[in-house]
């Protein structure tokens, strides 16, 4: 049905009226010129045919109406529709082509609009591509940085000016673990973590002092100022830290502002102790030798008097004998003491023994004329070596064997000796006598191989490693070999290195968004949920009545910082409840009495957990129960958990008031969350954290943005009335 158009009706009425007026006026004019006869004739003629006249008038009006209607739609409706559609295009992002209609001008206008829309789309797409590319580049750079960091052998921690950690690498994590006062419990997790304060390890004043130092130097125009300090940590370790500023990107006309700092850390406890021990030995050696020489000198002086009585003479000679023997003993002791290691050492690095052997094979074979076989290589050995000089030594020996003993095959062996690794270069002698005559003494000749000359001898290389070198013949097999005794990497360092290697997925050790995070400018209550740090935890217990003797047997937690779930920064600890675990509960938590035996007790675990959770909001599913478990232990452990608390059970009820179940299982199913290892404390904590992360945006949709608002909403729910 076509719409009734008032404008058309008005037009038709107007034209009808004009026609009537025109007809009336023309008729009247003609009427007035006619005489009586003429008037009678006209009256007779027209009078009977008036109907026809009126019908013709009406018919022409209909024709006029449809013409008008067409004109209106052709010249007026089409542009109006175009205007409406253009309005839609302007206000929204829809991509569509307008269909041309109406007059030629209108059609051209529509085409122009279409072209403009296309142009806009093209521009937008280009921009999107560029934004995406930029984002990808940034992401790539971030990944590159993270990769670089994780491979660095130096501990690096980056902080903002408030001392909050924005980035740390694996090495730093392991170093902090060594600093932890409860290393077995938290693994240093309470000390290092994104968003945590570095002042947990370093004295705030010390860091501030170093920062001021740098700032002064920056103001004086220093290009790359840095500060160094040495500090002891609460656990008694000695750390050397180098601090460098992180500066904001500099625009041409202003000086770059400092936005944070980088700390590079060395644990020098061991070095320092070794140094101190050596200093002490050297010092006492000098003093005692001086004293002994003093005694001898005095005795000698007296003996020179001609009139010394025989008795006195004998006593003085005894003094001389004693002191000489004493000096000799002291020198012998010294040889076996730590001072022996004061020989200037090269920087030795940890290297997997099998890697060294592989490198040696490549290097010797590259010389030409020799084939090398690795036999019996213990690939669990980690050496502490300066690989370059050691490889040089091996290829020098191999080449000299080829030249002087006509050997074309050598074997490499690596095995564990007593306290050292044994690296052997073996061969089967062509003529035993020749070998025995030629080989001895090679260790004292300057090494030459592959055209490289060096003034170093094998002996030098071995001494710098604190090792040994000799030539030996195996009686049974007739095999002869050169043996290097080489130091092993310390067990702890071995562990560190291997855990670095094992860690394939790169954990999230950085969060540069924290650069923007300001100091607590808003109170916690007004802080946005999306910006707060949370410790999401779960406890397993011997039963449901903590007030009447049920005990915690496991606590696990993960952290959410800046809206990101940090899976690597977790806390997972079994606790010895010092009571039995009811067998009926074992299927629920899967923790048997054997598992908790020998584990730390609650009075060590809770303080560590408290540290782990410091300055965060606690989150748990059915938090009332877990909090109750923590609170009944306040007296025993002396730690009070006065953190703000969020409960995912209550928040779920806020978001989905019509759902029947708010059990963790039901919620994870609703959110389609799959967690491995559910029904362990860590698995449940992880699931709770995932749930919590999904609840935050849903709460925001309901206008609940801050911690205060969330707590208020939670309190109003039906479930809040349930109290433990």
């Amino acid at each position: 049905m076509r719409r009734f158009d008032k404008r058309v009706a008005l037009g038709v009425a107007l034209i009808g009226l004009i026609c009537l007026v025109w007809l009336g006026a023309t008729g009247g004019l003609i009427w007035s010129t006619l005489d009586e006869t003429g008037r009678t004739i006209v009256k007779d003629t027209l009078g009977e045919r008036m109907i026809v006249l009126l019908a013709m008038w009406a018919i022409s009006l209909i024709a006029v109406g449809s013409a008008l209607r067409f004109l209106v739609s052709y010249f007026m409706t089409a542009p109006a529709r175009l205007a409406e559609e253009a309005q839609v295009l302007l206000g929204t992002d829809v991509k569509r082509q307008l269909i041309p209609s109406g007059s030629i001008e209108n059609r051209r206008l529509t085409d122009l609009f279409n072209q403009l829309v296309q142009q806009r789309e093209a521009l937008r797409e280009e921009m999107d591509v560029r934004v995406e590319e930029a984002a990808r580049n940034t992401e790539q750079e971030k990944n590159r940085l993270a990769a670089l960091m994780s491979e660095l052998t130096k501990s690096v921690v980056v902080c903002n000016l408030d001392g909050r950690i924005l980035l740390y690498n694996n090495r730093a994590r392991m170093q902090f673990r060594a600093l932890s006062q409860a290393p077995g419990v938290t693994g240093g997790g309470e000390l290092i973590g994104l968003g945590r304060s570095v002042y947990g390890v370093f004295d705030r004043k010390l860091v501030m002092h170093a920062l001021e130092n740098i700032q002064h130097r920056l103001q004086r125009g220093a290009s790359a100022p840095s500060a160094q300090f040495i500090t002891t940590t609460p656990s008694g370790q000695l750390l050397r830290a180098q601090m460098a500023p992180v500066r904001s990107v500099q625009s041409a006309d202003e000086t770059a502002k400092m936005t944070g700092f980088v700390l590079m850390l060395d644990n020098i406890t061991r070095e320092f102790e070794a140094q101190a021990r050596q200093d002490h030995i050297l010092h006492t050696l000098t003093e005692r030798s001086r004293a002994a020489l003093g005694n001898m000198q005095a005795a000698l002086d007296i003996l020179e008097y001609p009139d010394v009585e025989p008795d006195m003479r004998e006593r003085l000679l005894t003094v001389l004998r004693e002191e000489t023997a004493g000096l000799g003993n002291r020198l012998r002791e010294l040889k076996s003491s730590a001072l022996d290691s004061t020989v200037l050492r090269w920087p030795l690095e940890d290297m997997l023994g099998s890697d060294l052997v592989a490198a040696a094979i490549r290097r010797i074979e590259a010389l030409g004329g020799l084939s090398v076989v690795a036999t019996e290589v213990d690939d669990s050995l980690w050496l502490k070596v300066e690989s370059f000089s050691l490889l040089q030594a091996l290829s020098y020996l191999a080449e000299r064997l080829r030249q002087e003993c006509v050997i074309n095959t050598v074997q490499l062996r690596l095995s564990m000796g007593t306290g050292r690794a044994q690296l052997d270069l073996c061969w089967t002698p062509s003529a035993a006598k020749l070998t025995d005559k030629v080989v001895p003494g090679w260790e004292n000749d300057p090494m030459r191989s592959g055209g490289e000359d060096t003034s170093l001898t094998i002996q030098d290389v071995v001494e710098r490693h604190g090792g040994a070198f000799w030539f030996e013949r195996e009686a049974e097999t007739g095999t002869v070999f050169f043996r290097f005794l080489l130091p092993l990497a310390a067990p702890q360092e071995q562990l560190e290195t291997s855990s670095v290697v094992r860690n394939e997925s790169r954990p999230e050790y950085y969060d540069f968004d924290l650069f923007q995070a300001s100091a607590q400018s808003r109170s916690l209550e007004d802080s946005k949920l999306s910006e707060l740090s949370f410790t999401v935890f779960d406890t397993e217990t011997t039963g449901l009545d903590p007030a009447n003797g049920d005990e915690i047997i496991q606590i696990a937690a993960v952290r959410i910082v800046n809206g990101k779930l940090l899976r690597n920064e977790n806390f997972d600890q079994l606790v010895d409840p010092k009571r039995n675990i009811p067998p009926i509960t074992i299927p629920i938590h899967g923790i048997t009495p054997e598992m908790v035996r020998g584990q730390p007790t609650i009075d060590t675990v809770l303080p560590a957990f408290h540290l782990f959770a410091q300055e965060t909001v606690l989150v748990a599913h059915n938090a009332a129960f877990d909090m109750r478990c923590l609170q009944v232990k306040e007296k025993v452990t002396g730690v009070v958990f006065d953190h703000p608390v969020m409960d995912t059970l209550l928040l779920s009820a806020v978001v989905h008031p019509n759902q029947e179940s708010h059990r963790l299982e039901a919620i994870t199913e609703r959110f389609n969350i799959n967690i491995l290892g559910r029904h362990t404390a860590l698995g449940d904590a992880m699931a709770t954290a995932e749930v919590f992360m999904r609840l935050i945006p849903l709460l925001a949709e309901m206008g609940i943005h801050t911690l205060g608002q969330a707590r208020e909403a939670a309190q109003k729910t039906y479930y809040a009335r349930l109290k433990y």
Partner: protein, 124 residues
């Protein structure tokens, strides 16, 4: 009048020589085997001069110096430090704490005898 010299050292091997030497020089000799004994003997015997080893058990030579100089009666009594410590800082410390002179071990007994004579003369 015979002058009294107190020798404080924990090493018997040097005491033999020093005691012999000082007696031969014509002094009366009092011997202390540690810092504590040295202080007590100084109070009791009022020696004319003290030969003081630095590294001694109970009280070091530095402590003894400090303690006896605090007593007005011994303000001018010459103290000669005998030290196996060769560092400048140790010498400076000894002199600052009131020793008149020092000799670093090993030393020549002739020089020692001369120093003792000089210090006693200067004090007289």
């Amino acid at each position: 009048m015979t002058k009294t010299v107190l020798i404080a050292d924990d090493e018997p091997n040097i005491l033999i020589s020093l005691e012999y030497l000082m007696k031969r020089e014509g002094y009366r000799v009092v011997v202390a085997h540690d810092g504590q004994e040295a202080c007590e003997l100084i109070e009791r015997e009022h020696p004319d001069m003290v030969l003081l080893d630095v590294m001694m058990p109970k009280k070091t030579g530095f402590d003894v110096c400090h303690e006896i100089r605090a007593n007005a009666a011994f303000k001018t009594m010459p103290i000669l430090l005998l030290t196996a410590k060769g560092r400048d800082t140790d010498v400076a410390k000894g002199l600052a704490l009131g020793a008149n002179d020092y000799m670093t071990k090993p030393f020549s007994t002739k020089e020692l005898a001369q120093k003792v004579r000089d210090l006693l003369e200067a004090a007289a």
